[in-house]
Amino acid sequence: MNPTLHHILREGWHSRLNTSLGLLALTGAVALLTAVSLLTAAAERETRRVVRDLGFNLRILARETDPERFFLDGHPESTLPADAVTRLAAGAGTFITFNHLTPVLERRTRIAGHECLLTGLGDTVVGPGETKQPMGFRIAPGTAQVGSVLAERLGLRTGSSLEVGGRSLRVERVLVEAGTDEDVRVYTSLGDAQAILGLPGRISEIKAIDCLCLTADQDPLPKIREALVRLLPEARVIQMRTLADARAKQRQASERVSAFAVPTTLLVAAVWMVVLMVQNVRQRRAEIGLWRALGTGSGRIAALFLGKAAVLGGLGGLCGWALGTAIALRWGPGLFPVTAASLRPDASLLLPALGLTPFFAAVATFLPAMMAVAQDPAETLRSDS
């Protein structure tokens, strides 16, 4: 075996306590970083999901929509052609401003003598290459989802048949009581709603989420309106400001936590490692003096210390990644229940853990080792061995 490696391993075994503490510190630091990285990513995922579940905050309507009627009725009387969604989605830079474009056709109607809201939902369009889950429900043609109050009035249950506008729909689900107009609503596919309402090829609005990600003190509405004039001139947009603000604030709070947690953890881990390595070198000052007296060059002395740091760093990186992942998987799902299934070991963190930890441990050791090598041997050799 190479004498330097032999000495590193023997010294590591001899100084088991120090080696274990060093390994523990490196493992702890990497575990902390791994766990924080995984949990921060989970927190951001959770925030995105929670924010998304706040619902759409933009309603894109036909330009001629009368705002008074719209707010009184809760839906526009005017309609847009259904291909407005595809045209908007195809526009340059659309998904910088808008996302989750969902065509909707909504009208009041009567079913078996009961007045209700009929909402047809089309497929949600997301940005190219995105794998986001569509917002809201996805309703298969020939099926319906029915609000709780309406279902009770009509005696509907899952699997029941619902006759509306001359079409027979199977009740896919009875929605839980929402305490809003959702409770008197019937959701169908867009095609079914167009057929029932006699409005083929038409939609009443496009629901969307703004994704400008501006800060809370910035108003995105002028930019949104400017973009829409360019992308879909026959439309106008209404922002549901309360939802939009809540969404922006929640997202920004999550980003602030991430921006604080990761660098802080990195700094704490770095300081921890430096302190430990400095301590190790200080304890071995007499040994450095001896190696110098034996005529050992600075390079080999440095290799003894940097090599140990690198070996410990490699082991600490591996153990820390495993421990950090285990911690995140053990406690993460409880902290982030909505996106718990997305919390998985992240192999992309293993490579930096294995590559950067030995490097960082060696860098942390380098300065104190060089200082010790440069130190007056009259001092270092005075230390007891």
Partner: protein
């Protein structure tokens, strides 16, 4: 004096130890011939250890020159000095400075210069010659102080250096072990080696070919050359 192996001229190295006090050596010159056993005495703090570190080129003098075997040590770069020391100079310390994580044999092997064969034949010879055969794999912590110093001596001698520098090598030993270590140093000298030993005691005087005394970093009085004790050439392992 035989042809000089070591020539130190006007070496000065001092440093402040506390306000108003200076320790070190001032303007020391020394010539040591091959096969000599030089004993340098003096009280604690007189600069003995500093002088020894200067002679081994572990310390750079503030002024003066040092030649060993005709080579000006401080004309070499740091790597060159290290290599020279590794091949030409052995050190023995009062505190032994054994590597605590290596066994006896590996400690002795650690004294070999870079590139030397590590087959261990030479090391085994010294381990046997110094009476450590049954402690070959023992950890330093399990050795007596006498055994530790003999291991340190074997480590210094395993490369057969022309010059051996010993800093109070018997300072922590009982009379029996003191005698044993000094006998080994004398055997090494008689086999052709050169010893420079610093001590505050007088046990080594009987082996000395030249005796010097340091006081406050300067020679006190002229060097004394006692009659070389009767000896027979010694063969080492």
């Amino acid at each position: 004096m035989t042809s000089p192996l070591l020539e130190a001229s006007d070496l000065t190295r001092n440093h402040a130890t506390r306000p108003g006090a200076v320790a070190g050596v001032v303007g020391l010159s020394l010539r040591v011939g091959r096969g000599e056993f030089v004993v340098i005495g003096g009280p604690s703090g007189s600069g003995k250890s500093t002088l020894l570190l200067l002679l081994g080129a572990l310390l750079r003098p503030q002024s003066g020159t040092l030649r060993i075997g005709g080579v000006d040590l401080h004309a070499l770069d740091a790597a060159g000095r290290s290599l020279f020391r590794a091949r030409q100079v052995g050190f023995v310390f009062q505190m032994f400075h054994l590597l605590p994580y290596l066994g006896v044999r590996d400690n002795v092997l650690a004294g070999l210069p870079p590139g030397a064969s590590r087959s261990g034949t030479e090391a085994d010879g010294w381990i046997e010659a110094l009476g450590l055969s049954d402690r070959r794999d023992a950890a330093p912590a399990t050795l007596s102080v006498g055994e530790r110093q003999r291991v340190a001596l074997a480590r210094a001698l395993v490369k057969r250096p022309p010059l051996l520098l010993a800093d109070e090598p018997t300072g922590n030993l009982d009379p029996d072990n003191t005698s044993r270590v000094l006998d080994h140093l004398d055997r090494y000298r008689r086999s052709g080696g050169t010893v420079v030993l610093v001590t505050h005691g007088s046990e080594a005087d009987r082996f000395a070919t030249q005796r010097l005394h340091l006081e406050a970093g300067r020679w006190a009085g002229p060097p004394f050359f006692p009659p070389i004790p009767p000896s027979t050439p010694s063969s080492l392992p």
